[in-house]
């Protein structure tokens, strides 16, 4: 089929890149936004615009909040098919309470798992989730969609297609194709080092687009490779290759029993009710031990297993704020007495590599410079993919125009939708977030509808305006959507000021960077969109006059 390896790689790069580029674009762009997911949450849920808080007191804040939690009716309905006989309406046996926080979280996420009597898999628990204000334990309404961590972040890894985890599989396969595209791209690229710094905006369209494609691909190659790869690694044992839950379940069980014996952390409940000693005292003891080890730090993860049982224990983990790992240095106490059961030994070398690879992708550490660099890497990836689309269209559109084929036209319309359309949808959800009434029922759903509707409109617009591509000219939708982007970005900043009083100059003056940063970023995006629209307009009129000249010459 192919006469050489290089030709096979070029075929792979072109066609898999084209088909999955649409998915990769979303993964890269929403991944870049997820770098600042907590800040976007603050922008979109103005009641939570407060300073980050450390893990609050268990006795005063967490325990009452945990005790108020209960699985939602939706979670109970979802569990129903996995239960023999009647579905209980109350869940009294708590398997697990836990709370996770980072240095950027002003609100605290709580998780509670309950035993389900008659569950087909007796190990399966039903889960309840809650968000509280850690200063007073007050629960925050579930109707407030956290657009950063609750929408853009899931978009990044699952496109929010939750049915049978379909989205996770699509993004996973696209990530694998990203790796394949990187390898094949390097093989195709004949002058990887010689053209390392090369970008010639003044040259012909095809050349300058390819320059930008190569530049953003090659220069950020380590970023692209490691993020696609670590993204796959993070989900590999849960979704893509779940050998531990399926084929090698026996080995996994064996390991859990051995571990329970070695660590002294009971795997099962004893069935004997027991009280709970002071958890705050256990947390204080854990922090004292970290400080004594020269790693003074905050609590990142607090977990209680087998709550209310004699086998219950409390695990306190250190937040990995100053290193790559998410959490670590776990210290475990017997829940009923508060006596120390175990101090986790230092991670094995393999464990440390695993912590590093997952931590570098999930990035819960404190490092604002690196965060911005990640954003840059993500956007470089997005530019690389977008220029790939443009190159594909530019290379073929004249040919297709001569043959009367619609191929380039369709690809171009889809490219407009995935590049500028995606930006419009993203800005649209932010604008909708500021425009919808504060106490609208199911407000989060309306925000999601706004996102998808605007994206669909962008597709219709791109298709409707795409006729010139079939004649070998440019689609005006690119420029028009750039203008729409600038308008929506400005509207978002203005609406944020009007509806919350946090005008951009005020947030800058008070140094509230989570919101000021997003507003400034929106303003910069508006400016870039305006400049792009102008450049596209200049280019279009230049092409117009060239065609007119040619027409004159022919006459």
């Amino acid at each position: 089929m192919f006469s050489s390896f290089r030709q096979a790689m070029a075929w792979l790069h072109t066609w898999f890149g084209l088909v999955l580029g649409f998915v990769l674009m979303a993964a890269f762009f929403f991944g870049a936004l997820s770098v600042f997911d907590r800040e976007i949450d603050r922008w979109t849920v103005p009641t939570t615009r407060i300073a980050p808080q450390p893990m609050p007191s268990f006795e005063q804040v967490l325990r009452p909040a945990f005790e108020r939690m209960h699985p939602t009716p939706a979670a109970i309905d979802a569990m129903r098919p996995r239960v023999d006989g009647a579905m209980p309406q109350h869940f009294d046996t708590v398997v697990n309470w836990s709370a996770y926080t980072t240095h950027r979280d002003p609100v605290l996420e709580l998780y509670a798992g309950y035993e389900v009597p008659n569950a087909k898999d007796p190990e399966e628990a039903i889960w309840a989730y809650g968000t509280i204000d850690p200063r007073n334990g007050k629960a925050l309404s579930d109707d407030q969609l956290k657009i950063g961590s609750g929408f853009f972040y899931p978009m990044h890894y699952s496109l929010t297609l939750d049915w049978k985890n379909l989205g996770i599989w699509i993004v996973g396969f696209s990530a694998l194709m990203m790796l394949a595209a990187l390898v094949s791209g390097v093989i195709m690229h004949r002058k990887l080092f010689r053209e390392f710094f090369t970008f010639r905006p003044g040259k012909a369209r095809l050349r300058s687009v390819l320059d930008l494609h190569n530049l953003t691909g090659v220069v950020a190659l380590p970023f692209h490779f490691f993020f696609a790869f670590t993204g796959l690694v993070i989900f590999a044992s849960t979704y893509y290759f779940p050998v531990g839950q399926t084929q090698l379940h026996g080995l996994h069980e064996l390991h859990e029993q051995v571990e329970a014996q070695e660590t002294g952390l009971p795997h099962d409940r004893a069935g004997v009710p027991a009280g709970l000693a002071s958890v705050d005292a256990m947390v204080a003891e854990a922090q004292r031990r970290w400080a004594a080890d020269g790693k003074a730090g905050d609590v990142g993860f607090l977990m209680m297993q087998h709550v209310g049982d004699a086998n219950g224990y409390v695990s306190v983990y250190r937040a990995g704020t100053d290193r790559i790992a998410l959490v670590g240095d776990g210290i475990h106490f017997k829940a009923s007495t508060g006596e120390l059961i175990r101090v986790d030994p230092p991670a094995t070398p393999t464990g440390r590599v695993s912590e590093f690879l997952t931590g570098l992708h999930l990035q819960h550490f404190r490092h604002w410079l690196l965060r911005w660099f990640y954003m840059l890497g993500g956007l470089a990836g997005a530019v690389c993919i977008a220029t790939g689309f443009v190159f594909f269209v530019e290379k073929r559109k004249r040919q297709h125009a001569q043959r009367g084929s619609q191929g380039a036209r369709i690809v171009d319309a889809l490219a407009v939708t995935t590049v500028t359309g995606m930006l419009l949808a993203t800005l649209g959800i932010l604008v909708a977030n500021r425009l919808l009434p504060e106490n609208l029922p199911a407000r989060g759903d309306w925000e999601r509808y706004a996102f998808w509707c605007i994206w669909a409109l962008a597709l219709l617009h791109a298709a409707w305006r795409s006729a010139p591509v079939a004649q070998g000219r440019a689609n005006p939708a690119w420029r028009e959507q750039c203008i729409a982007i600038a308008t929506l970005a400005l509207a978002a900043v203005v609406l944020n000021g009007i509806t919350t009083g946090d005008y951009v100059w005020r947030t800058i003056a008070t140094g509230y960077w989570p919101v000021a940063g997003i507003d400034l970023f929106l303003l910069c995006s508006a400016a870039v969109a305006c400049l792009t629209a102008r450049a596209l307009k200049r280019r279009a009129s230049a092409a117009q006059s060239r065609i007119a000249d040619m027409g004159m010459a022919r006459v």
């Binding site: 090369t198 290193r323 490092h367 410079l369």
Partner: protein
Amino acid sequence: MSEAALATCLLLAAWLASVAGMGWLAGSMPVHAQQVWGRTPSSAMARLLRWLGAASIVAALALCLGADHASMAVLVWVMASTGAALLVAFTLAWRPRWLRVLAPWV
């Protein structure tokens, strides 16, 4: 100097070292030297620029290691090099002469 201020200075220095390093590396390539100075420097000068570039990028790693835990420093270093390379490439595209400041002796 407080620890945070020291880390900021080290990171700033690391970033400058990355940009200078990438700029020198680009300057050692005939095509880009042509853009920057309008002529190709001698092969000895090109070699000097290449060595300066490489040394500067290694120095950036050392500065990053001084600022953060090693696990984070390598990431900062890789990303700083990426950002620096992009900056140099765009400077070469639109304002190549600005890179003369890196090697006033050429």
